[in-house]
C-alpha cells in the first residue's frame, strides 16, 4: 500500500485510476529521451502524476533560444546540462518520485544500458536518426515507444510497438541514410506547441500504465495549432519493416562488445567547471593545443595503466585525446576492465576548439 496518497486524491477519484491505478503508476518506470520542448512537459506531467521512476536523457546544454518553449529552465540555467537541470526541477515539484538524469545523447553505444530498467520509452528527440534507433531498441526489448514530433504550428503523435502493433518504420519506411527533415532551429516553432504535444504524449504513457482507454496505436494523430484541427490517420504493420527494426535493435542490444560512452563538448566543459569527474589527457606532452586547467591530469597512454591502478573502479572518469579515437579505445579498455563510469570526449580536443 502507498503511504501518502493525498497529493493524488483528484486522480485517484477517477474510476480509471483508483488506488490500484495509483500503485501501478508508482511502480512504473518510464524513460524520456530528450529534455527539450517535448521532454519538459512529459517529465513534469509524469512526475506530478506519481510515476515512480523516470529517466531523462539529454546531452545538450540549455541555450537562451530554448527558453520560449522549454519552461523548466530559467536564464540562470543556460549552459548547464538539460537532463540534470530538469531532474532537479521536477524533484522539487514531487519529491516522492525517483528521477535519474542521463547527461548524454542516446546512442547505439549506450542504448542497452540506458533502457535496461525501463518499461516505456518516450521519444522527445529532435532528429529522426534517434527515432529509428529508439524504435529498433524498443522493438528488441518488446516495449512501447511513445512518439511525437513538431513542425512550426503542427505536431504528430503515435504509440509504436504497442502490444506488437506497428512501428515507426511501418509508418515512414526505412530512410535512415538520408535524413534531412528540418528541426526547430531550422524551421521555427511556436513556444506553446510542444507543450500540447508533450501533454498528449504524457496522456498516452499514463493510459498505457493504467490500462485505460484506447492507446494511439496504428494511428498517427496530427494536430494543427494554427487551424485548431486534429486528424487521425490509420496505418498498418509492415512485416518487412518490423523484421528490419527488430534485427537492428537486437544487434544493438546484444552486442557483446563493451564500449564506453562518448560525451560532447558542452558536457565536457561542464565537467571541467564542476570538477565532477577525474579528467585525464592521454596525449603525449608535445601534442598541441594543451588545455590549461588544474583539474586535468596529464597521463600519456603508456602510463595510463599504472596510474589507473590507483583509482577506484567507481570513480567517474573522462578521458580525452586529440581526435577521440585513442580515448575511445582507452575508455573501452578500462570499461572492459571493470571501471563503471568511464567517459571520453567524442571528437577530442579538436572538436572542443572548433566549437
Amino acid at each position: 500500500m502507498m503511504e501518502n496518497t493525498k497529493r493524488y486524491n483528484r486522480q485517484i477519484a477517477l474510476p480509471e485510476v483508483g488506488i490500484l491505478g495509483q500503485e501501478k503508476l508508482a511502480a512504473a518506470k518510464v524513460l524520456i529521451i530528450g529534455a527539450g520542448g517535448l521532454g519538459g512537459p512529459v517529465l513534469q506531467s509524469l512526475a506530478a502524476a506519481g510515476v515512480g521512476q523516470i529517466g531523462i536523457a539529454d546531452g545538450d546544454a540549455i541555450e537562451e533560444s530554448n527558453l520560449h518553449r522549454q519552461f523548466l529552465y530559467t536564464a540562470a540555467d543556460c549552459e548547464k546540462n538539460k537532463a540534470q537541470v530538469a531532474a532537479i526541477a521536477v524533484l522539487r515539484q514531487n519529491p516522492q518520485v525517483k528521477v535519474f538524469a542521463f547527461p548524454y545523447h542516446f546512442t547505439k553505444t549506450n542504448a542497452a544500458e540506458m533502457i535496461a530498467s525501463y518499461q516505456i520509452i518516450v521519444d522527445c528527440t529532435d532528429d529522426n536518426h534517434s527515432r529509428y534507433l529508439i524504435n529498433d531498441v524498443a522493438m528488441a526489448k518488446g516495449i512501447p515507444m511513445v512518439y511525437a514530433s513538431i513542425h512550426k504550428f503542427e505536431g504528430q503523435l503515435s504509440v509504436f510497438n504497442y502490444k506488437g502493433g506497428p512501428s515507426y518504420r511501418c509508418l515512414f519506411g526505412s530512410r535512415d541514410e538520408a535524413l534531412d527533415e528540418a528541426n526547430c532551429a531550422d524551421s521555427g516553432v511556436l513556444g506553446v506547441l510542444p507543450q500540447t504535444l508533450g501533454a498528449l504524449q504524457a496522456t498516452e504513457v499514463l493510459k498505457i500504465v493504467l490500462g485505460a482507454g484506447e492507446v494511439v496505436s496504428g494511428k498517427l494523430l496530427l494536430y494543427d495549432g494554427l487551424q485548431s484541427r486534429l486528424h487521425a490517420i490509420a496505418f498498418d504493420s509492415n512485416p518487412a519493416e518490423l523484421a528490419k527494426g527488430l534485427q537492428n535493435g537486437e544487434e544493438i542490444l546484444h552486442s557483446k562488445k563493451q564500449t564506453a560512452m562518448g560525451i560532447g563538448a558542452d558536457a565536457f566543459r561542464q565537467a571541467l567547471r564542476t570538477n565532477s569527474h577525474l579528467i585525464i589527457d592521454i596525449r603525449e606532452s608535445y601534442e598541441e593545443p594543451r588545455l590549461e586547467n588544474h583539474g586535468i591530469h596529464n597521463i600519456p597512454l603508456a602510463q595510463l595503466e599504472n596510474f589507473i591502478a590507483t583509482v577506484a573502479q567507481n570513480q567517474k572518469v573522462i578521458l580525452f585525446c586529440q581526435r577521440g579515437h585513442q580515448s575511445q579505445m582507452a575508455a573501452d579498455y578500462l570499461t572492459h576492465k571493470g571501471f563503471r563510469s568511464i567517459l571520453h570526449l567524442q571528437h577530442g580536443i579538436e572538436g572542443l576548439t572548433l566549437n
Binding site: 530528450g34 527539450g36 520542448g37 517535448l38 521532454g39 521519444d123 522527445c124 528527440t125 529532435d126 532528429d127 529522426n128 527515432r131 511525437a148 514530433s149 513538431i150 513542425h151 512550426k152 503542427e154 505536431g155 504528430q156 509508418l171 515512414f172 519506411g173 530512410r175 538520408a178 535524413l179 527533415e181 528540418a182 528541426n183 526547430c184 524551421s187 516553432v189 510542444p194 498517427l220 496530427l222 494543427d224 487551424q227 486528424h231 487521425a232 490517420i233 490509420a234 496505418f235 498498418d236 509492415n238
Partner: protein, 81 residues
C-alpha cells in the same frame, strides 16, 4: 474527377497551402498518378519524404485506385522536439 488533398508539415510549406481540390484525368486514377501530378506541380515535393493516405488510411502501394470525392493526405515525418 475531383479529389481533396490535405498537406502537412514540410509538404504544406512546399505547396504553400494546407488543402486543395484537384481535378484528376479519369484515366489517371492511381495514388502514383496523383503523386507524379503533384510533384510536377510542386517540384519541391521531390526532395521531401512523405507517405500518402487515402480516406484517413496510409496506403502501402502507389497502385491503390483513387475514386471521386476521395480525401488524400500527404504526411511527412516531422523532426522537431
Amino acid at each position: 474527377m475531383i479529389v481533396t488533398v490535405k498537406y502537412f508539415g514540410a509538404v504544406a510549406d512546399a505547396t504553400q497551402k494546407k488543402e486543395e481540390s484537384l481535378y484528376l484525368d479519369a484515366k489517371l486514377h492511381s495514388v502514383e498518378d496523383l503523386r507524379l501530378q503533384l510533384e510536377n506541380q510542386y517540384p519541391e515535393l521531390k526532395d521531401i519524404a512523405y507517405v500518402i493516405a487515402v480516406n484517413q488510411s496510409v496506403v502501402a502501394s502507389g497502385l491503390v485506385t483513387i475514386n471521386e470525392n476521395d480525401e488524400l493526405a500527404l504526411l511527412p515525418p516531422f523532426a522537431g522536439g
